[in-house]
């Protein structure tokens, strides 16, 4: 096994571990924000380590550049979407704590609820 292959093996294994850790966190963590935290680890570190590990295997220069571009896009997209989701979760938590409009359950009594709105 050459040095490059050993490098690949180490980093890809680390990346796979972070994906596994992200999955465990997503499934086992108690609330939405910590699940999001676990997901971001898999997103950035997991994919980043896999990309770093694959760099020695890629064809120079375009394969390498494409991999790096992909990782940059993934970090950008992952970070922004985590921000979007966190904002949504936060807004929901704020509404929950102030008890905003508890009567708007969708499944509770849709027909009656709808009639109220139509006639009010």
């Amino acid at each position: 096994m050459s040095l490059a292959d050993a490098f690949t093996a180490v980093f890809v294994s680390l990346g796979a571990f972070f994906f596994f850790a992200g999955w465990v966190g997503l499934v086992r963590f108690p609330d939405a924000l910590s699940r999001l935290h676990a997901l971001s680890k898999a997103d950035n570190l997991g994919l980043g380590l896999v990309v770093i590990g694959l760099l020695p295997q890629a064809s120079w220069p375009f394969g390498t550049l494409k991999l790096i571009a992909l990782w940059l896009v993934a970090v950008l997209v992952g970070g922004a979407s985590a921000q979007l989701l966190a904002g949504a979760i936060h807004a929901q938590a704020a509404e929950t704590s102030t008890g905003g409009e508890p009567g708007r359950g969708t499944e509770a009594a849709p027909g009656a609820n709808g009639n109220d709105k139509a006639t009010s």
């Binding site: 950008l76 922004a80 979007l84 849709p110 027909g111 709808g114 139509a118």
Partner: protein, 331 residues
């Protein structure tokens, strides 16, 4: 069987197929529309990976661009505007059971057909490969799309243009000439504006790359156009730009330039070369590239406009919560 299949161990196939079926079952039976639509965008990703396993990279790229990107955008914005509808009255248990049995029967017949396909599988790999050199294209799928089944592809791009016309006709009469507003969903959050500024340049490069590489590798006008359309939809959603007015002449030209150029070159082929949609030998490659470039543009414009929706007048949208309530009145 010749060993040209992917050397991947087949461990991934069974879980992937199982996950597809479980997800399909879940999004048929789950309670809320919005949750089902989110599940459907995950379903699109899974199908794209299944296409890789089936060895069809071209289809996988199309499915990823449409099913993973645009379809989720279209259906989630629709779910947001429609709100949660009330459940429609379900028929009684006997009716449901008989329908379930019917569907099971369809599945069993189809599965039997799939498992009982003739064993030296009939295929057109060799005919395509032997005539592919004429088109100077390295990608057999592109050769089929642009040369061997060119009539299908041309009609398909006409269908796309017609779909936009039909979509626009869904708008209210008084809104004719206005901008489409299906993606006007309130003030965008800062993170969305950030993505809207940074992602489209990268998407532009990827879209053009997919179009250009499509001649010799998987990719092509549909894949590239779908990526470009997704980026345009992102720009409109982040309110960094506005969809063009439906009366805009340049937009209309963009929709029809692909099929029109295809048709004109095809008609010219009837005169110069031997038949309708036949290309003169010396000009085959440049003509194909020209058609594909125009088609990429048309596909991008048409798909983006399909997501943007029919023209609407500015002003507050009808409230979705009450729209849900009104549902109960109509039937």
């Amino acid at each position: 069987m010749p060993d040209v299949s992917l050397p991947d161990p087949h461990w991934a196939d069974l879980p992937l197929g199982f996950a597809l079926l479980v997800l399909a079952l879940w999004l048929t039976w789950t309670q809320r529309d919005r949750a089902a639509v989110i599940g459907f965008s995950g379903y699109g990703l899974l199908v794209a990976i299944a296409w890789v396993r089936l060895g069809s990279m071209d289809v996988a790229l199309t499915e990823a661009a449409l099913g993973g990107g645009l379809m989720g955008l279209l259906l989630l914005t629709a779910a947001a505007r429609l709100g949660e509808e009330t459940d429609q009255p379900a028929p009684g248990l006997p009716a449901r059971l008989s329908i379930a049995l019917l569907c099971l029967g369809v599945t069993l017949v189809l599965a039997a057909v799939v498992l009982g396909l003739p064993s030296p599988a009939p295929n057109l790999v060799a005919p395509v490969a032997s005539h592919q050199a004429v088109t100077e294209l390295g990608n057999p799928v592109a050769a089929v799309l642009i040369a061997f089944r060119a009539v299908d592809t041309m009609l398909e791009s006409v269908v796309l243009a017609l779909a936009v016309i039909v979509l626009w006709s869904f708008g209210a009469d008084r809104a004719w000439g206005a901008r489409p507003r299906a993606l006007h969903l309130g003030p965008p959050s800062p993170a969305l504006v950030f993505l809207g500024r940074l992602l489209p340049p990268a998407g532009l490069i990827v879209g053009v790359h997919l179009f250009w590489t499509g001649a010799d590798h998987p990719g092509g006008p549909f894949q590239g156009g779908a990526v470009l359309a997704a980026m345009a939809a992102l720009l409109w959603l982040a309110r960094l730009g506005e969809p063009p007015r439906v009366s805009d002449g340049l937009t209309r030209l963009g929709i029809v330039v692909g099929p029109l150029l295809f048709l004109l070159i095809g008609l010219a082929g009837a005169v110069i070369a031997d038949a309708f949609l036949d290309y003169p030998e010396a000009l085959t490659k440049p003509l194909i590239l020209l058609i594909e470039a125009a088609k990429t543009l048309s596909v991008a414009v048409a798909l983006a406009l399909l997501v943007a929706g029919p023209p609407e007048l500015p002003g507050p949208m009808p409230p979705r919560q009450s729209g849900r309530a009104a549902k109960g009145v109509t039937p």
